[in-house]
Amino acid sequence: MHWSELAIELTLMPLVAFVVGLAMVLMMRKIAARLQRRVGPPLLQPLYDIVKLYGKRTQTSHGMLHEIGIVMAVGGYVAAETLLPVPGMNGIAEKGGMITLLYLTMIPSLGLALGVGQCANPNGSIGISRALTAMLAYDIPLVIVIAGVAIHFGTTNLVDVIAQQQAGGIATWGAVQMPLLAIAGLFALQGMLGKQPFEIYVAPAEIATGPMVEMGGKFLGGLFVMQCFQLYTASVLYVTLFLGGGENWIAFLAKAFAVLVIPMSIAFLFPRYRTEDMITMLWKWPVVLGLIGLAFVGS
């Protein structure tokens, strides 16, 4: 591939992810509103929020790490998007693979931990320690799921995984071949998105949105952008592993949005667990399901 083509893909992929992510945030808020019998926000609300936050006239910075933390949080996801193949664009997905992607999705949490640490707000510190604990909780099932998929398809290359599923049709989709792993993956997805019942680190009524408590203006704007990327990454990863990626953009977007409907509909119907309950829950059911699924993968 010519380097200019690659450069275009590398810029386009995060941009597309951001725009789709905005729509996903809107969908999330709409679902919440419909479940609570409200009308919900207007069409461009996520965009208004971000423009407004970046347009604040005074910004309260708590120091260098505070700023770098946000850059890491957004940058980690921007880098992750270039490793996620979308229809027509592979970026550097062939060179990366699942394991690199898994590492990159952890960078935002670590960046946030750095930034929040400098804010020296007790709510923020509690929040970030809970966020890292949550990461520990959902990473175990996630790693099992990813290992299972890699063993099944005989590769960690996401482009190959998609190609194999698309060549064989629906019967070879990960979700059909490995239903147990797909269910375990849904648990991990819920944890990864940090939605109720696993919303332990945001918890607005308890620790005042945890990591976000000292973030205003451009910092909160950065986190809103990060949320768009987060929703996109989580759902596209699931679509790639279990639903055969996207043959074209319409099928791809339909699948990505459909996957997100599941965690979001669950989220707004449930309260949240305590931290230790979340760990017990995530280390028990999805791990057991995943391990049984893993046993069947080879056969």
Binding site: R29, A33, Q36, R37, R38, V39, G40, P41, P42, Q45, L47, Y48, D49, V51, K52, G55, K56, R57, T58, Q59, T60, S61, H62, G63, M64, E67, A120, P204, A205, A208, T209, M212, V213, E214, M215, G216, G217, L220
Partner: protein
């Protein structure tokens, strides 16, 4: 507290009349987005707070106007004071107000914030809220119905879109006036963690009335802020500061 030395920030002043067409379009766009996305921090001290849940939930649904509740002052745009403020409460309100990022707006809900309402004769309540901080909008009533609250918020949105809701600038430009009223109520040693004068200088919002007799009084006793010492241990701390 903002470390203004560490980060050289270029301050953008909006060009009200003039500037090139792109910057005008950009300013218009930002003003529109500001008016359509308002995060409220509700400081529910008085009885008026009871009218907010219906305004937020399914009956009247504020979110369709882009208004959603937020939980920390750093994230919020609107400070909603819902009812009477006692002297003790007002201190907290001031701390909260100064921590919010500008542009910020204050809405006083209930007659008690306008002129003391039925607590006019009480020794313990602050009467007029706009003596202590610039108030962008009052919604009078004892207590105002959710319809009135929504109407008030819509008026504020129109004001913001037109670029007229600039009460927050007034706090910087006439800090001496507001500080004077605060000192009258809280005593001469009143000091908040936010250095308003330094911020006014930094953001180019310094006015002729930023400094005055009252700020001179403040400077006499102003103690520099120090980070709290982190302590680990079991049991009660030896000394709990009020």
């Amino acid at each position: 507290m903002t470390d203004t030395e560490q980060f050289p920030v270029r301050v953008e002043q909006p060009d009200r009349n003039g500037g090139n067409i792109f910057s005008r379009v950009f300013d218009e766009l930002t003003a529109f987005c500001r008016s359509r996305s308002l995060f409220i921090l509700h400081y529910c001290t008085g009885c008026g707070a009871i009218e907010l849940p219906p305004a937020m939930t399914s009956r009247f649904d504020m979110e369709r106007l882009g208004i959603s509740p937020m939980v920390s002052p750093r994230q919020a745009d609107i400070l909603l004071i819902t009812g009477y403020v006692s002297v003790k409460t007002l201190k907290r309100v001031m701390l909260t107000y100064e921590q919010m990022g500008s542009p910020k707006y204050v809405i006083g809900i209930c007659s008690c914030t306008v002129n003391g309402g039925m607590y006019w004769q009480s020794y313990a309540t602050a009467k007029k809220l706009n003596d202590y901080m610039p108030v962008d909008l009052y919604i009078a009533g004892c207590m105002p119905r959710p319809e009135a609250v929504i109407t008030g918020l819509r008026q504020l949105m129109d004001k913001i879109a037109a670029g007229e809701a600039n009460g927050w600038e007034d706090y910087y430009r006439r800090y001496d006036y507001y500080l004077g009223h605060q000192q009258r109520l809280f005593g001469e040693t009143w000091q908040t963690p936010t250095d308003v004068i330094a911020e006014a200088r930094h953001y180019g919002l310094f006015g002729p009335e930023t400094l005055g007799d009252h700020t001179r009084l403040l400077e006499q006793h102003q103690a520099p802020l120090e980070a709290l010492e982190m302590q680990l241990g079991l049991g009660a701390p030896d000394e709990v500061k009020a």
